[in-house]
């Protein structure tokens, strides 16, 4: 071969290699090479400014010229927030360092503390809730106590946030609170060992008069599956006529948690089908019903509902799930799957309609990006995506209740209290009618 021919040949290879590299993305995805991308490569004349150039220009203008003093980092993060929300998907968002940190605590469901929630009080901080089984509970802290001093520091007049920062500390260390309690003249000292506290996200209440187990799930956090499991075991022990699961205003949480929880109830059924950007489909099925395999109504099994070893049992009693427009995401999967297989009836109002899955990607500077990566369908390829009009008003989407019930609100209303919660009452009424 002549040298000239050799050079030409090499050039041909170089070109071919470039083209292969250029189209590699399509080839790997199993598509035809994108002609549009090749065209974009050739078009250089009337090229638009790139998004980055446009951003850079205005970042500079705003930082230099704004009448309000601008913090460079704040402006940077605000731009990232705006950029990510511009896709029009309310679930795709940028989270600044602090927001990201709190989001992590929320979905993990635990933190180091004493296990009580504090509220505003002129004298210090008022104990609003003491969570069961936490150090605060064991040390005898009571709801209504007013914390007036923390480790010899008087906290009267401080903001609740400030007081909380004194109460929190290293795991295993001791904090001493002085609390005012009704009926006591002097403050009582209470010593509490700080520990990793798990915020309860699932609680069971046995409604004796109605012989109904009421399980309220506030969130689908990492710890929820275990808590729900305990709630279900407790519920089964009471031999209830039926179970009410309250998912109202439950914003969802982790997809895996919802699937794990359905695992406890439904054996070997398709739960949810995920579809990604390339149309790849991934189905999740439940494994074996671990605690109480729900069966269709009317096929209620006799015998024990719960075996001593904790093995699966068949339970055909009625299950009612309470929902409203603030029930979203994992709540909708949980309720929707049971509804689709006719294993539970839904009561209340239509749910939010969030049919997508997000991935949270930690970024530098402690920030993170939450990005919608998949869409999901419930069994029977039911799509519950929320549709809104130009003004953002709800048109359709979400799960529809089998029994629509509006919540009656008056001075007596109390969620989760029979007789004071119209949606719960309707569900109990239905359960009564089943047996």
């Amino acid at each position: 071969m002549k040298p000239a021919a050799r050079v030409v040949l090499i050039l041909v290879f170089v070109f071919a290699s470039f083209c292969t590299g250029f189209a590699l993305k399509d080839i790997l995805n199993g598509n035809k090479p994108s002609w549009a991308a090749f065209q974009a490569l050739m078009k250089t004349e009337d090229a638009q400014a790139t998004p980055t150039e446009v951003f850079k220009e205005h970042y500079g203008v705003i930082q230099a010229r704004s009448y309000r003093p601008v913090n460079a980092n704040r402006l940077k993060y605000a731009a990232m927030q705006g950029m990510m929300s511009s896709l029009g998907d309310p679930h795709t968002m940028f989270m600044e360092p602090t927001t990201a940190e709190n989001f992590a605590i929320d979905t993990r469901g635990d933190f180091v503390g004493v296990g009580a929630r504090l509220g505003e009080d002129l004298l210090g901080a008022r104990v609003v809730v003491v969570f069961k089984g936490t150090p605060a509970d064991r040390s005898g802290l009571k709801r209504g106590d007013i914390v007036v001093a923390v480790d010899d520091t008087s906290v009267g007049g401080m903001s609740t946030l400030e007081i909380v920062s004194y109460v929190r500390g290293e795991e295993g260390t001791i904090v001493e609170l002085q609390v005012l309690r009704e009926g006591e003249d002097d403050p009582i000292p209470i010593r509490i060992k700080r520990a990793r506290v798990i915020i309860p996200t699932s609680e069971m209440i046995w409604m004796k008069d109605q012989r109904v187990s009421y399980i309220s799930i506030s969130q689908f956090a990492e710890t929820t599956t275990e808590q729900f499991r305990e709630s279900m075991i407790e519920a089964m022990k009471t031999d209830p006529k039926g179970i009410v699961i309250d998912l109202r205003s439950n914003p969802g949480g982790l997809l895996d948690t919802a699937i794990d929880m359905l695992d406890l109830l439904v054996e070997d059924r398709e739960v949810v089908t995920l579809e990604d950007r390339n149309g790849r489909v991934e189905s999740h099925r439940t494994r074996k019903g671990i605690i109480a395999k729900l069966t269709k109504e009317g096929s209620k099994a006799s015998g024990p509902f719960f075996s001593a070893s904790g093995d699966s049992v068949d339970w055909g009693g009625p299950v009612a799930i309470l929902i409203n427009e603030d029930s979203a995401s994992a709540s909708e999967i949980f309720a929707g799957v049971l509804q689709q297989y006719d294993l539970a009836k839904l009561f209340g109002e239509h749910t939010y309609g969030k049919a997508s899955v997000q991935n949270v990607i930690p970024l530098i500077e402690g920030s993170s990006a939450k990005i919608t990566i998949r869409r999901y369908y419930l069994p029977n390829r039911l799509d519950i995506s929320r549709r809104v009009d130009d003004d953002g008003q709800y048109i359709s989407g979400g799960l529809l209740p089998d029994y629509p019930v509006e919540l009656e609100i008056n001075s007596d209303t109390m969620l989760g209290e029979p007789g004071r919660d119209s949606q719960l009452d309707r569900a109990i009424e239905w359960i009564e009618a089943q047996s």
Partner: protein, 429 residues
């Protein structure tokens, strides 16, 4: 050819081929995010963006932006067909973060309307509006921004929902006839509610009081009920703005608040176009909209006196204001711009200016605001003008209008407050 040279040539050939392949991948990625091919050929790595052990290092804004768009591009559930929305979104985010009533982001349609209004073409019921943010929240944001406060809670999104407030009413417009006034707060348009941080705050405070046993639970339940009903039909303040400022036919039901009073009316939409300059009995009524300076210059050709009426000021542009100042003020100083913390930001200089000894009289009142008020103040200081009338609105914020463009495509635009006008430097103290 010697063997060594041969194998070297072969190696070079192989490397070129491999390199071309790699370059192809990189170029493709760059094209997908809409970026031009860099001369330096720096390869793209997302690793710098993702959290790592040295996670506290700072990344320059444009690099952060570029990498984040790439991440989005590779992860988001739908292909991003129009990447220009990303940059427009970023600008919107930055403007929102200023939490400044005079700085507003406008998407392409609203921006077009804004430009039309600057030309005197005005639609809707006849109001100018602005977004008012909760001052406490803004202070908090600013404090977090400059590092003087460490946030222990995420920024509360509910507290960042602004109120929609009227800044001025076009005289004789349907809004004027219906009794709307500057300072009124819009609560509803066509039965759609504009929820703001104020309502959220009210509810939270009441909940707190009830928990403490200091307030009646009935009241809380009543407000909760109201909330629930409102939640069925909420629109954003910017959408509310659009409802009020577009269209020339039909009418719109408005509920607004003045003090503790709640008022309501059905207000017609109409064509409210205005002209830059009208002359009544030798007095020139000037609107600082496009064409004002040119028309004024034509009128001044053979005049020795100028009687200006700057009352009932509507929208005006700082570009037109600057032109009129150049026409009427002598060359040299034209005033000063201060930032929100009262630091001198820039000086306004009159380049050409007027050399004639024009005798100027200006009529003002409390509706004289913005560019009109700046003009009156500057004329009094630098052109010996006699200003008469009641005190003006005391609202001399210099606002620029900027277009967000990608190539020749307009993505939107924004107004940006760049300073508060002071006629003299001493006045700042």
């Amino acid at each position: 050819m010697q063997d060594g040279v041969k194998s070297l040539a072969a190696a070079v050939a192989v490397l070129s081929i491999a390199g071309a392949g790699a370059a192809g991948i990189v170029v493709r990625q760059k094209i997908e995010v809409g970026t031009s091919i860099p001369v330096s050929g720096r390869s793209i790595q997302l690793e710098g963006l993702l959290a790592s052990n040295d996670g506290m290092s700072q990344m320059p804004p444009s690099e952060f932006f570029f990498k984040l768009t790439q991440l989005l591009e590779s992860q988001y559930v739908d292909p991003i067909s129009d990447k220009t929305v990303l940059s427009a979104g970023a600008v919107r985010g930055m403007i929102l973060s200023l939490a400044d009533p005079y700085s507003t982001y406008l998407d392409d349609a609203s921006y077009e309307q804004h430009l039309q209004r600057l030309k005197g073409i005005h639609e809707g019921v006849g109001v100018e509006l602005y977004l008012r943010y909760d001052q406490e929240e803004i202070n908090k944001l600013q404090a977090i921004g400059d590092g003087s406060l460490t946030p222990s809670e995420p920024v509360d999104a509910f507290m960042m929902i602004p109120e929609l407030v009227i800044s001025s009413v076009v005289q004789g417009s349907p809004a004027d006839l219906a009794g709307l006034q500057p300072g009124d707060r819009i609560l509803e348009v066509n039965d759609l509610h504009l929820l703001s941080s104020l309502e959220v705050k009210k509810l939270r405070e009441l909940t707190e009081l009830v928990e403490l046993g200091d307030a009646d639970e009935d009241e809380l339940n009543r407000i909760r009920d109201e909330f629930r009903e409102m939640a069925e039909s909420i629109i954003t303040p910017t959408r509310g703005m659009e409802h009020l400022q577009t269209g020339t036919a039909g009418s719109i039901d408005i509920v607004w608040e003045r003090g503790d009073e709640e008022l309501t009316a059905a207000v017609d939409k109409t064509d409210l176009s205005s002209v830059p300059l009208t002359i009544v009995d030798g007095v020139i009524k000037l609107n600082l909209i496009e064409g004002a300076a040119d028309q004024l210059e034509a009128h001044l050709a053979d005049q020795t006196e100028l009687n200006l009426d700057l009352r009932g000021g509507q929208i005006g542009s700082s570009e037109e204001l600057m032109k009129v100042m150049n026409l009427l003020l002598p060359p040299g100083k034209g005033g000063f711009l201060y930032d929100a913390e009262n630091n001198l930001k820039s000086r306004i200089t009159i380049e050409e200016g007027s050399t004639s000894q024009l005798k100027i009289a200006v009529l003002v009142d409390e509706t004289t605001r913005g560019p009109a008020e700046i003009l009156a103040t500057a004329l009094a200081e630098y052109a010996d003008a006699e200003v008469s009338g009641p005190d003006m609105a005391d609202e001399m914020i210099w606002v620029e209008t900027r277009t967000v463009m990608s190539g020749s495509k307009v993505l939107g635009g924004y107004t940006l407050a760049i300073g508060e006008y002071q006629a003299t430097e001493e006045a700042a103290q």
